[in-house]
């Protein structure tokens, strides 16, 4: 298999801004210039604290959020491509002391509209499992209707019996009773609802699934069941996952590679083992030191790095490296230039000026 064919999803310079009403400029910069690729059959884990843009990135890749700019390629075919619609301009802005200061701000510039791509064929190949199972199922539909609707829209079943059979098959695949098809989502427990969500995603026989914190809403005892089920599904159906979570230990367990996000940017990306053993970005080091260890002796001897201050607002992110306001090693350069994601060891990428 050639190198190119090996990559299922490729994301280049993907940006997602959410416009804020009554505010000039780009608004909330949820995802900023993220580039990554996902190999066929692998699991790419994505971690980072709340509000760092993991979920937005996952949904933007599927175009559930319309991206602001960048390029998304699925299996060699571009499904989104758009130029960056902002440019940095220096303007005098009234500062806190009342005087005028020059400041660089992002100003909208005219760019051609992105070419529209019919997503329907890709919706069959790319699916998502949502974080909150109870909110993501339409309360007015039975489980059978929820799963069946996906079959109908892609015309996957030629007859009614085939459709019923497929729904039953899917339900038993995720460990639910086949009679459950006639029930409504609210009649299930959280774990069962998430199984329905998984069955729904699997209904169209996808290749790529974004697992958007699929277990964080579940009870700990159910979490492992669902994680194991997802792993089995991957084995049996040859799925590729983008696994989003904030729980590092789960991501470590399930992922081949792990990406770390901070305030909308990807700061480090490496093989799962490598990242855990040898994190090179200061933020990753901090994040790893915060993972609880179930051994008090190790736990006590460990040095925990605690960051100063709060995570800055994505509406007005720091200039230069977005992490420089909290980074213990920040230099002048970090405040000026945006560090690019570079390969520092084979397969180990990081965006930090300190690494050269």
């Amino acid at each position: 298999m050639s190198e190119k064919n090996d990559i299922l999803v490729q994301v280049d310079h993907l940006t997602k801004y959410f416009p804020v009403k009554g505010m000039k400029g780009p608004g909330v910069q949820a995802v900023e210039d993220v580039s990554l690729f996902i190999k066929r059959g692998e699991t790419l884990g994505l971690v980072g604290e709340s509000g760092c843009g993991k979920t937005t990135l996952g949904r933007t890749i599927l175009r559930l959020h319309e991206p602001t700019s960048g390029k998304i390629v699925y299996d060699g075919k571009p499904i989104y491509e758009h130029q960056y619609p902002f440019e940095a301009k220096t303007m005098s802005v009234k500062g806190a002391d009342g005087a005028m200061h020059p400041e660089t701000v992002l100003v909208k510039k005219p760019v051609p509209r992105p070419k529209s791509v019919d997503m329907l064929p890709y919706r069959r190949k790319m699916q998502i499992i949502f974080q909150d199972p109870s909110a993501s199922l339409d309360p007015r539909m039975t489980v059978g209707e929820i799963i069946g609707e996906a079959l109908d829209i892609h015309k996957l079943c030629s007859s009614k019996t085939e459709r019923t059979e497929r729904i039953k098959e899917l339900l038993s695949m995720v460990g639910l009773n086949t009679e459950h098809a006639n029930r409504y989502p609210h009649e299930f427990s959280g774990g069962q609802q998430q199984r329905v969500g998984i069955a729904r995603a699997l209904a169209v026989r996808p290749e790529f699934i974004v697992c958007d914190e699929p277990i964080s809403a579940l009870d700990v005892s159910i979490q492992s069941q669902v994680v194991n089920m997802l792993e089995d599904m991957q084995q049996d159906l040859g799925l590729t996952y983008l696994f989003i979570a904030h729980d590092l230990s789960v991501v470590r367990h399930i992922s081949n590679r792990i990406g770390v996000m901070y305030l909308g940017t990807l700061v480090e990306l490496a093989e799962s083992y490598e990242l855990n053993r040898n994190p090179i970005h200061p933020y990753t080091k901090t994040l790893l030191s915060a993972v609880p260890v179930p051994d008090p002796q190790v736990s006590r001897s460990r040095q925990r790095i605690v960051l100063e201050g709060d995570i800055p607002s994505p509406m007005n992110p720091p200039k230069g490296c977005r992490f420089h306001t909290r980074c213990p090693y920040a230099t002048e350069k970090c405040k000026e230039a945006v560090p690019q994601l570079k390969e520092h060891a084979p397969g180990h990428w990081a965006a930090c000026h300190l690494l050269g």
Partner: protein, 314 residues
């Protein structure tokens, strides 16, 4: 289910009884008698009239007698406005006229208001939304007679070249219906549109809408199948009693367009102290609203499977 309906019917009867008693005592508490007009009749005449219509007896006896008659569906006779004509007959002749106008009005209000609400929600923050907001705010805040008078003026000859419709209502001609229906339906249309918008905004931002998109459904399917169904509850809640009100006739619209409907009897029966007619129209409207509310409650179950009527609507 059957048990629930039976319980509701029993409650409806009790509600109706309370309404009857309240109306009866309230209307008798209002000063004045049916016999007052420009020429006040003599004492002897009033006494004779009171005796004839049983108004000389104590109130409680009158109420008892009224309830007894009501049990035989006898609403009594009008004592002033259409002297000695049975109240039930008046209601049954007037109601179809009001109801036909009201039905058309409420129908167009639903058919236009709900889609406009969806549109406003879907295009939130754009000029479409702002325009609809302005129109609907005007429609909700402007009194009915203003819009009725404006329509009447504009389209019955007030503006040169726009005389499309007759000034005086004529039963049976389609043209006469246009303006009254337009005027009567405007308020519910605007209200429905706002209500739908709010409910739709809530629904559109739900996660299952994202799920529907992820499945690959078209926008139209998502809006009408997933979002609107979930947004219908507040809409239906408003519609139930509103249908009853509109079908029983709008007083203002019927007066402006000189429609011989039921609506004006609600108000003029009170000023005329036509006691049996006040009772009749009030009971009729109250019963209608009670029935509509029952239908609405049963519809909830249809729209939202999570609502379990047997467990007290939880």
């Amino acid at each position: 289910m059957t048990k629930y309906v039976l319980k509701r019917v029993l409650m409806a009867v009790i509600t109706l009884f309370v309404v009857i008693c309240l109306t009866f005592f309230l209307m008798n508490a209002v000063p004045g008698t049916p016999w007052l007009s420009e020429k006040t009749p003599s004492e002897a005449t009033i006494a004779a009239l009171n005796e004839k219509y049983g108004l000389d007896k104590p109130l409680i006896v009158q109420l008892g007698k009224y309830l007894e008659n009501l049990a035989h569906l006898d609403f009594g006779n009008s004592i002033k406005m259409q002297k000695d004509r049975p109240v039930l007959e008046i209601i049954l002749t007037m109601f179809p006229i009001s109801a036909s106008i009201g039905a058309i009005a409420i129908l167009w209000a639903i058919l236009v208001g709900v889609p406009l609400g969806c549109l406003a929600a879907y295009r939130r923050g754009t000029w479409v939304d702002s325009l609809l907001r302005v129109i609907c705010t005007i429609g909700i805040s402007m009194p009915g007679f203003v819009i009725a008078t404006m329509l009447l003026h504009a389209f019955t000859g007030g503006i040169e070249g726009l005389k499309f419709f007759p000034t005086i209502f004529q039963q049976g001609t389609a043209k006469s219906y246009v303006l009254p229906c337009l005027a009567l339906g405007f308020y519910p249309m605007c209200y429905l549109s706002r209500q739908t918008r709010t409910a739709m905004l809530d629904a559109i931002n739900q996660e299952y809408i994202k799920t529907a998109r992820a499945k690959g459904l078209r926008n139209k399917t998502i809006i009408f199948k997933h979002a609107l169904r979930n947004a219908l509850i507040p809409v239906i809640t408003y519609l139930g009693p509103q249908i009853a009100f509109t079908l029983c006739g709008g007083f203002v619209v019927e007066t402006v367009f000189t429609i011989p409907g039921l609506g004006r009897y609600f108000v003029s029966s009170i000023s005329n102290r036509d006691y049996p007619l006040i009772m009749g129209t009030t009971i009729f409207l109250a019963a209608f609203i009670i029935v509509m509310n029952l239908i609405v409650d049963l519809l909830y179950k249809l729209v939202d499977p999570r609502i379990n009527l047997a467990k007290g609507g939880e």
